[in-house]
């Protein structure tokens, strides 16, 4: 599956370095048996508000979108970024479509396994909106990083 990576607000095609994947369930069951694992695969029915796991041990965390309409992994991505403070790559796998990429990026996802978009169309999708109303888990410096209400306040203060 082609891989796109989002870096400083721009998508580019990436060549996949081989990963050793382990599922969260297997990892919690027996971490020693998977000591060499580099990527953690989290099923989208795992409740990350209760599961405790040292996610920082992995360079990539893979979240699953079995159908584009199944939006559980958006919450997982935000929890990983905002609650766990995870700074590695969060990769979307499954039914990853061009028109979902904007939402995924806003939730902190920065790796995309997709055949439905190339870097050009993904960049286009990301630039469709200049602002966002709400704080999410955008990467720092993204145009949507600062919510509209904050921009309004800074504009008032500047004036």
């Amino acid at each position: 599956m082609p891989l796109l990576k989002l870096n400083h607000g721009t998508f580019s095609p990436a060549v996949e370095e081989p990963l050793e994947e382990v599922s969260l369930a297997d990892w919690l069951d027996n971490p020693q048996a998977h000591a060499g694992a580099t990527a953690l695969v989290i099923a989208n029915d795992e409740d990350l508000s209760v599961v405790r796991c040292d996610v920082h041990a992995f360079s990539v965390i893979i979240l699953e979108f079995p159908r584009f309409g199944d939006g559980r992994a958006y919450t997982q991505a935000r929890l990983l970024r905002e609650r766990f403070g995870y700074e590695g790559e969060i990769r979307a796998r499954g039914d990853v479509l061009r028109d979902q990429i904007f939402f995924m990026a806003r939730c902190g996802i920065d790796g995309f396994e997709t055949a439905h978009a190339d870097a050009a169309s993904a960049n286009e999708a990301l630039q469709e909106f200049s602002f966002a109303y709400q704080r999410a888990a955008d990467s720092r410096g993204a145009v949507t990083d600062e919510p509209i209400w904050r921009r309004r306040l800074s504009r008032v203060k500047a004036a």
Partner: protein, 551 residues
């Protein structure tokens, strides 16, 4: 009312451009209908029985004359000269061509309107009390909070692919005109004993095939925490709501499976974790939004109007309309005017382009340029001087908009049914029309008092039949349309779900049945009892007996 700044305007314009691109990809064949479907459904565009249907958002039902004129323009230019107001305070167009939809959205964007989140499994258009800012019984105007919710929920990246659609309603009155107890989230703004304003948070109500009255999971939420608390509820729902069965995916199923107490604990735990973050708006931004809803420049008037008293004496028809379709205003010398979109024998909620223009003119001249759409598929002019009521009535009458039946038997909610909808089992509109004609005489209707008849053409309950004083549900039995009657429902502060009475009736018999039930009520009511009160006092049995003895 709220006006867009450059940020709001940019978001709406960019959404229109984005959708134009999506339509172009569909028309070029780059997207299949299957791939296009979720995209159009994010933007209020449905494929119905005969054509596309476009649903345009009217956030919390408040809009201006200029916006109404644009709605008329859309009806004229792109549709068949009419629109249809819905139970979410929105308007639907039943006949747009796909190729025209991007132009419609551009036209709408030019007057700060759009179709964002009027469909799809996301947070839908937030609704509120149509009397907001005018009602004598409200603690404060609920619309600033509805506007905050509109902004917070617009393109929310985490909550755009929920298990199912999600509807929020806000009221600031003990008289619930926003049906908050039958919403995914209902919010009731009130003042607590300490004199602080905050929200009662009600979760898990809903209609559809499994109706529930909502549960209060928090008695008092300080108003500055509204958005973080909503985010916590939505997050619990997004992760825990069922996705394996379309019919069990609404939050009401989760709340009632977990139990309201347990669900509330999950929300509180999540809220604890996020409430210090940057979700709640700072006081300056809340004040900025609040300021848009400052009262219009009311004149200092006396409570009574001599001109009004004279016209009332001179004209019985006007006097009747005045009694039925106007409501006391919180400011002396003003009144709230209800415009019925339920002419006798008409299609509930339908309005022609010419009528839209007429309402726009009247609102501009007599009601501070502001119009409200109601969840009962009518319109409201919130701030009319009593001195002007006769002129307003004459202008409405000239536009065939002065039917004096607000909240009476012929003020019927009906879903579009099999005349338009591809989910429907039966027709709803012709049943509504025939009941309306049967109930026709307005004086008799006034004598009957408040009577809410609600009709759904299938179990999805878009016509809110569960909460009708008399509810009618259309079911298909071997290719024939049958109608099941429920009694005793209410969507107001005394919310209840109607009980099914007996077997289904044919489309011919159901109109007779309604007449029989109404007659039984009239013969058995005490004092000023409404139909609902008599039903609650006597119970279902005598009504059933009356119904099936007659049949």
């Amino acid at each position: 009312m709220y006006r867009y700044d450059e940020f709001d305007a940019t978001m709406v314009a960019e959404r229109a451009t984005q959708f134009r691109g999506q339509v172009a990809r569909r028309l070029s064949g780059e997207l299949s209908e299957d791939e296009f479907k979720p995209l159009r459904l994010m933007n209020g565009l449905y494929l119905q029985l005969h054509a596309y249907m476009l649903r345009v958002a009217i956030p919390y039902g408040t809009f201006t004359s200029r916006q109404m004129r644009m709605l008329a323009h859309v009806a004229r230019k792109y549709d068949k000269g009419y629109g249809h107001f819905t139970t979410r305070q929105n308007i639907q167009y039943n006949w747009p061509a796909l190729v025209d939809v991007p132009d419609i959205l551009d036209d709408l964007a030019s007057v700060e309107m759009h179709a964002i989140q009027t469909s799809g499994n996301c947070i839908r258009n937030v609704t509120s009390d149509q009397y907001a800012g005018a009602a004598a019984d409200e603690v404060e105007d609920p619309r600033p909070y509805a506007e905050m919710i509109r902004q917070w929920s617009t393109f929310h990246p985490e909550f755009s692919f929920l298990p199912r659609k999600f509807k929020i309603a806000v009221t600031a009155s003990d008289n619930d005109r926003a049906a908050t107890r039958v919403h995914d989230i209902g919010l009731r703004l009130y003042k607590n004993d300490a004199g602080e304003t905050g929200f009662e948070v009600i979760v898990g109500g809903g209609l559809g095939r499994t109706p529930y009255i909502g549960h209060t999971i928090r008695e008092f939420l300080p108003k500055e925490h509204l958005l973080s608390y909503l985010e916590a509820i939505l997050r619990v729902y997004n992760t825990q709501g069922r996705r394996d069965n379309l019919y069990k995916a609404r939050i009401k199923i989760l709340v009632n499976t977990e139990g309201a107490e347990r669900f509330g604990e999950l929300v509180e735990a999540e809220w604890e974790a996020i409430k210090g973050g940057e979700i709640d708006l700072p006081a300056e931004e809340m004040a900025r939004i609040d300021a848009y809803f400052a009262p219009p420049p009311f004149e200092a008037l006396s409570v009574d109007s001599a001109a009004l008293d004279q016209s009332r004496q001179d004209n019985d028809e006007f006097a009747q309309w005045l009694r039925v379709n106007t409501v006391p205003h919180k400011i002396p010398g003003y009144a709230i005017v209800n415009i019925s979109l339920k002419p006798i024998g008409g299609i509930p909620g339908d309005i022609s382009d010419e009528q839209m223009e007429a309402v726009a003119d009247i609102a501009e001249r007599y009601s501070f340029d502001e119009i409200r759409a109601t969840h009962e598929q009518n319109l409201t002019l919130a701030h009319v001087k009593k001195d002007d009521l006769f002129a307003v009535w004459q202008a409405l009458k000239a536009a065939d908009l002065a039917t004096a039946n607000a909240s009476l038997a012929s003020d019927i909610i009906a879903c579009p049914g099999l005349d338009y909808c591809n989910l429907a089992n039966t027709r709803s509109i012709p049943i509504a029309q025939r009941i309306s004609e049967r109930m026709g005489d307005l004086e008799k209707q006034e004598d009957l008092g408040e009577l809410k008849i609600k009709i759904s053409g299938c179990i999805n309950a878009c016509g809110h039949h569960h909460v009708g004083h008399i509810g009618i549900l259309g079911v298909d039995k071997k290719g024939e349309e049958f109608y099941q009657i429920t009694l005793g429902g209410s969507a107001a502060e005394d919310a209840s779900l109607g009980e099914i009475v007996g077997r289904g009736l044919s489309s011919g018999d159901v109109v007779d049945a309604v007449e029989t039930l109404v007659g039984f009520y009239r013969d058995n009511r005490q004092d000023k009892e409404r139909f609902l009160d008599t039903y609650r006092r006597l119970g279902a049995e005598p009504f059933k007996e009356a119904l099936y003895a007659a049949a």
